[in-house]
């Protein structure tokens, strides 16, 4: 790819990419820290995650402002236009990922005094690992304009959904076994839902990367695995 004749335009475009990189790094870090706080029942770490969210929000505002100015001043075309549209969308998704991680942090704070059943935490950890890997890969794909890599992330989200389904059933079972678990399990359930939503935002980013790199949307229907909206568990009599 050749550079722009106007160098300031080139540097504005690379600044957009760098800001996405920063936001992405923060989002990854928040997700990891939020789960770390939850797993270790560490209220300090949880508070730090909650506080961190404002930096992602700030970056998103800066990025939106810069994109609007660039549209007005540069009248971007072709891949430049797609880049500006893409960073706006990706920034929105990353901001939401930050919010959801913050939410996990808040729940970590709420249940930091309770003992967590080990299998449940293990399930959550798997979800976080898969989601973090997806997020990292999709951010790499964004940086490299790698549509193939983005497509792989997009398809792999099904695994996160599958884990969420089984965790959902498991948590319901725990709650039925002993109503004293309900408080803890509800927080863990919402935490799992937050992680599942982070996976969905990651697939949104994958779709945007595909559009950015190839110039058109992904044509397939994404394999969707989240079936919890229709899941019921009946108490065995």
């Amino acid at each position: 790819m050749h550079e722009h004749i106007v160098k300031s335009y080139e540097s504005e475009l690379s600044l957009l990419d760098r800001k996405i990189g920063q936001m992405g790094g923060l989002a990854e870090q928040m997700l990891g820290e939020a789960f770390g706080a939850l797993e270790q029942r560490n209220p300090e770490r949880a508070r730090a995650v909650v506080a961190n969210d404002s930096s992602i929000d700030q970056l998103q505002r800066e990025l939106e402002e810069q994109a609007v100015i660039m549209i007005a001043r540069r009248q971007p075309m072709a891949n430049d236009l797609r880049q500006i549209m893409a960073v706006l969308k990706v920034a929105g998704d990353l901001e939401r990922i930050g919010d959801l991680s913050k939410n996990i942090g808040k729940r970590a704070l709420a249940i930091s005094g309770e003992t967590h059943p080990k299998p449940l935490i293990t399930g959550l950890r798997h979800m976080v690992e898969l989601t973090s890997r997806g997020l990292k890969d999709v951010l790499d794909a964004f940086g490299a304009r790698d549509a193939e890599k983005a497509l792989r992330v997009w398809r792999d989200d099904e695994q996160v959904d599958a884990l969420y389904n089984s965790l959902f059933r498991e948590l319901l079972t725990y709650m039925m076994e002993d109503p004293r678990n309900i408080g803890l399990c509800t927080h863990l359930l919402f935490g799992a839902k937050n992680i599942e939503r982070i996976g969905d935002h990651t697939t949104n980013i994958a779709e945007t990367v595909h559009f950015l790199a190839r110039g058109f949307a992904i044509a397939d229907e994404r394999p969707k695995g989240d079936k919890t909206s229709s899941t019921m568990i009946h108490k065995a009599d």
């Binding site: 790819m1 050749h2 550079e3 722009h4 004749i5 106007v6 335009y9 009248q75 971007p76 075309m77 072709a78 891949n79 430049d80 236009l81 797609r82 110039g215 058109f216 044509a219």
Partner: protein
């Protein structure tokens, strides 16, 4: 073939074609100015030719009404078919051709005559009006079509050269329309105009495309993106890419096109 390629092909196939150029080469003496250009131009639409200076876009535009015939060292080969007939056929009268394929230039060039006479000149020499009333009617309707009537109706006998730049350009468009062409060629019609006058011409083009096939050469990518339905990108005498304007400016097929429209030529 991907989805965009399919939709492009559909658009190209659906509209009736007004002009078909096949294997057009142009030489100015030894200089090979245009190389093997083939393109189909749909009727009642606006097609934009873009490309850096010297890329051949104006040369190709001037082939479409044989304006290049006026340059003695210029030689054109290949075929250009308008409404089913080859315009380079020896039987074709270039003067008659140019009445069907009108032209508007970069610099507004009204005759040093009254506004009325500027528009009446063509219909008079082509004997399009039988009576004075007919001629008045042609002048009025041409000026109306060129969105100039309301501004000049009370001073039709003032000199055309006394109008503002944008008004002069619309007067030239009225003069072109007066002899009832079906194609209007525009060579950088707005490059000497301010943004308001440019917007008026663009609005006018939008209206005119209901009845005319318009082909515009422009250095302003934004103008091409704003007004045209199809865009052709020329570079070093070849037609690099031609397609619907929307795809061209959001997702061009050729790297060269992308480099040019994004300002990365290098």
């Amino acid at each position: 073939m991907d989805a965009t390629a399919v939709s492009r092909a559909d658009i190209a196939a659906s509209a009736p074609v007004k002009v078909v150029a096949r294997g057009v080469d142009v030489y100015y003496g030894d200089k090979h100015a245009l190389k093997d250009v083939s393109v189909a131009i749909p009727e009642r639409s606006i097609m934009a030719f873009i490309g850096p200076s010297g890329c051949g876009k104006s040369t190709f535009l001037r082939c479409l009404n044989r304006m290049n015939d006026t340059i003695s060292i210029c030689r054109v080969t290949g075929s250009i078919v308008i409404d089913g007939a080859d315009i380079y056929d020896t039987a074709v009268d270039p003067v008659e051709l140019r009445s069907r394929v009108g032209m508007v230039f970069q610099k507004a060039n009204p005759f040093p005559k009254s506004i009325f006479e500027n528009v009446a000149y063509g219909p008079r020499i082509h004997a399009l009006a039988a009576t004075k009333a007919d001629l008045d009617a042609i002048v009025e309707s041409s000026l109306r079509k060129a969105s100039l009537w309301d501004e000049v109706k009370d001073r039709l006998h003032d000199s055309g050269t006394g109008l503002s730049g944008g008004q002069q350009q619309r007067l030239c468009i009225a003069r072109t329309i007066a002899i009832n062409p079906s194609i209007i060629l525009m060579d950088e019609p707005c490059s000497a105009l301010d943004p308001i006058a440019t917007a008026r011409i663009e609005e006018l083009m939008e209206e005119l495309k209901q009845n005319y096939t318009i082909i515009i050469v422009t250095h302003s990518m934004q103008q091409a993106a704003r007004v045209s339905q199809r865009t052709a990108f020329f570079h070093l005498g070849t037609l690099v890419e031609e397609g619907d304007t929307t795809s061209m400016f959001t997702n061009p097929r050729e790297q060269k096109t992308q480099d040019y429209i994004t300002g990365r030529f290098g």
